[in-house]
């Protein structure tokens, strides 16, 4: 059973935890198709979304998830606020903690920052992405999408392609898919491959045809131009030619392979636009849909654990 107080990363989850979260998320995915989506699971709880880094999609997804479960949701855009005034992360956390939130959803540009913050607050903390480290709900929603499409989440060959070095999505997915006993291949230019990653239980190649061969799932990553110091790849067009996903490269994968992308997409850079819209191959829209369901599930479980923890404290 998933008993953790926070969700800081995939690395600390067991396969049972992952299955529990996905099972619950599956139920929420069905629920989300109803006309009346409102529930009271988180009624009375306060959810604060603290984003120290720009995000539209993830923040919206967490906001909708919280509201559907009946939480009071507040969004704080942290780039604009106290950080600019020189307040440290811990002071921000303590200030916020004094307002007694129950769920804190945090994104931060630095690896480990969300964990640091979690150490200083009484509520449950949900990592919505820390630096290049982890983005656990993204990996969970990807896993749910794969499971629904493939009918299972083990013994699949998954190719994760593109800018691995700067990607927390790649890391979380790598951990999750590994834990569930899948074959994971990382494909991309060597300059975007983090050092020593081949020692973390994955196969590494810089050749798309080789990497996609017989894959069940092809997961494309955004080429994060804003993260680059410059000089990782010669040009966008050379990148697209060698690593951009088009029908010819996809032909190396299994005929029923699905195409995924965490978004936002750069059409014509890492993925062919027509392919991204091909409803027979692309599950990109479903990923977004599953995002809300997974976040509802995680928040319900964290709230459950939090209540248990508080009950234990009061009975002591």
């Amino acid at each position: 059973m998933f008993t953790q107080r926070h969700l800081l990363g995939i690395e600390s989850l067991s396969p049972q935890d992952i299955t529990e979260i996905l099972d619950l998320a599956d139920r929420y995915a069905k629920h989300n198709l109803k006309q009346n989506k409102h529930l009271d699971v988180l009624a009375g709880l306060t959810q604060v979304n603290m984003f120290f880094e720009n995000s539209t999609r993830t923040q919206a997804s967490f906001e909708i998830a919280g509201k559907r479960l009946g939480a009071d949701v507040m969004n704080m855009s942290m780039q604009a606020s106290s950080i600019k005034k020189g307040e440290t992360l811990i002071d921000t956390a303590l200030t916020l903690n004094a307002m007694h939130p129950d769920l804190l959803v945090v994104r931060h540009p630095h690896s480990g920052a969300v964990k640091l913050l979690a150490e200083k607050v009484n509520c449950a903390v949900l990592n919505a992405g820390d630096g290049r480290h982890e983005h656990p709900t993204q990996a969970l929603l990807d896993a749910l999408t794969i499971r629904r499409s493939k009918g299972r989440l083990h013994r699949l060959t998954v190719a994760i392609c593109g800018d691995i070095a700067h990607s927390r999505v790649a890391r979380s997915n790598m951990f999750l898919l590994g834990k569930m006993e899948n074959r994971v291949r990382l494909v991309g230019p060597k300059t975007l491959m983090p050092s020593g990653v081949d020692k973390l239980g994955v196969e590494v190649t810089d050749n798309m045809a080789e990497g996609l061969k017989d894959a069940d799932v092809v997961m494309m990553l955004r080429l994060q131009k804003e993260r680059m110091d410059g000089g990782f790849i010669p040009s966008e067009r050379e990148y697209y030619h060698r690593w951009g996903l088009d029908p010819a490269k996809l032909a190396n994968a299994k005929p029923d392979a699905i195409v995924m992308h965490p978004g936002p997409m750069n059409r014509g850079v890492e993925i062919d636009g027509t392919l991204a819209d091909d409803i027979n191959r692309s599950v990109i829209q479903e990923q977004v849909e599953m995002g809300v369901a997974v976040r509802m599930a995680v928040m319900e479980l964290l709230a459950r654990n939090l209540r248990k923890l508080k009950a234990e404290v009061t009975t002591c």
Partner: protein, 416 residues
């Protein structure tokens, strides 16, 4: 007159340890005897030359809230460090004779142990124009260094080394290629990748050392690499020494006793400069100290307050305090069978003294009676709040350690 008797006397020069007595007169070691009937009974504990610690950061001037001469001096005395060779990376940098003079007066007033200052190599440690090396030498600077900032421009460094060689000034350099190292806070590899932290290859150390060795070869300067921390850099050092270049190298206690995995979940007390290395590198460097290829070991004492460490790993300040943790940390290497006590004291007392042209660091008649009495076996659990430094940022907090300083003497006077 003071006699210390029934002590196991460590002589790093002869490479021996033997039971005996030491007679001290006028602050000088006057006689070394096999035994003595009078004097203080050391009960078979170990007597060694005091530690000469090259590269101690003191918060004065500029960051007295992190460390003062008084607190650093007390920590040094308690840690068996009888001479602190201080870094110039203060605010402002110690780059003029006037600031150096202020520094020396403060040191003399407040510190119970010897303080020998280094001065900045370039003005403001900016790596552009050389500091007044001659004047600073006259004012008492024992070495020149920009601390953790390498001089990027090779032409600038070439001229500085040429000038320094003429005055026989010792230049201490940080050997991390700055462009590769920029922004990096861990060593590249699977651990860095898993944690998603900006990383640098240990090759950045070798590249910088290679460059500096070529410049030393050109200029004939007297050069010391502050910290050699990886296996890849060792052959470069070996070659330079074989060529007869006037080159020595040091390493910090942290790189000898910790590795990259100790950072675990972003523990910022383990953030040091250069970043902690792999276990293979650590072992290679330990061996290099035992073999004498790496000449000196220092604490790289860098006090940081809680505020500068309680930040996300990338933003947190680098450095760890070390004056008081140095001896117990290094005892780990002795107890682990990597080196014996005379070899250790060669690296922490004798060689630093030789490098700086001091008569100290020896167990010899006529040398200053800067001595420590210690028990290499005494076990304890490190509690960072018991450290005497104003800043408590040690990575050894909570660690089971062995080795306690019992008494510290500076010029025959007991300071701890």
């Amino acid at each position: 007159m003071l006699i210390l008797t029934n002590a196991r006397i460590i002589d790093p020069e002869a490479g021996t340890e033997a039971l005996g007595a030491v007679r001290i007169e006028g602050g000088i070691i006057a006689e070394i005897l096999p035994a003595s009937t009078e004097g203080i009974d050391c009960k078979g504990k170990y007597l060694a030359p005091g530690i000469i610690d090259i590269g101690v950061k003191i918060g004065e001037p500029g960051e007295r809230h992190k460390e003062s001469f008084r607190t650093a001096g007390l920590a040094a005395a308690a840690g068996g460090v009888t001479t602190m060779v201080t870094r110039p990376d203060t605010t402002p940098a110690i780059d003029t004779p006037e600031i150096l003079d202020f520094f020396r007066r403060r040191a003399a007033d407040a510190s119970p142990v010897n303080v020998l200052p280094m001065a900045a190599l370039t003005k403001g440690r900016k790596g552009k124009e050389m500091a007044e090396i001659g004047f600073l030498q006259d004012a008492g600077a024992v070495a020149f260094s920009d601390a953790d900032r390498p001089v990027t421009n090779p032409k600038t460094l070439q001229r500085i080394l040429t000038y320094a060689s003429a005055t026989n000034a010792l230049v201490i350099a940080h050997v991390q290629e700055p462009v590769l190292s920029k922004g990096a806070c861990v060593t590249s590899g699977p651990f860095a990748t898993k944690q998603g932290l900006p990383a640098v290859s240990p090759m950045a150390e070798r590249i910088q050392l290679e460059r500096d060795m070529a410049l030393v070869e050109m200029t004939g300067a007297k050069y010391h690499a502050d910290q050699i921390t990886c296996a890849a850099a060792l052959p470069v050092l070996e070659r330079a020494k074989a060529m007869g270049l006037n080159v020595t190298a040091g390493v910090s206690i942290h790189h000898l006793t910790l590795n990259e995995f100790d950072v675990e979940d972003y523990r910022t007390f383990f953030k040091v400069k250069p970043p902690l290395r792999s276990e293979d590198d650590r072992l290679a460097v330990v061996q290099a100290v035992a073999d004498g290829l790496i000449d000196t070991v220092s604490s790289m004492h860098t006090p940081q307050d809680e505020e500068s460490k309680r930040l996300p790993y990338e933003e947190a300040a680098s450095g760890a305090v070390g004056l008081q943790t140095m001896l117990p940390a290094l005892m780990q290497l002795v107890h682990g069978g990597h080196m014996d006590l005379p070899t250790l004291f060669r690296a922490i007392s004798l060689n630093p003294a030789k490098l700086l042209g001091l008569n100290a660091g020896r167990m010899a008649v006529g040398s200053p009676a800067d001595l420590i009495l210690f028990d290499p076996d005494a076990p304890f659990v490190m509690d960072r709040f018991k450290l005497l430094s104003k800043s408590k940022n040690t990575p050894f907090d909570g660690r089971r350690m062995q080795g306690k300083v019992l008494k510290t003497f500076v010029a025959g006077k007991q300071v701890f």
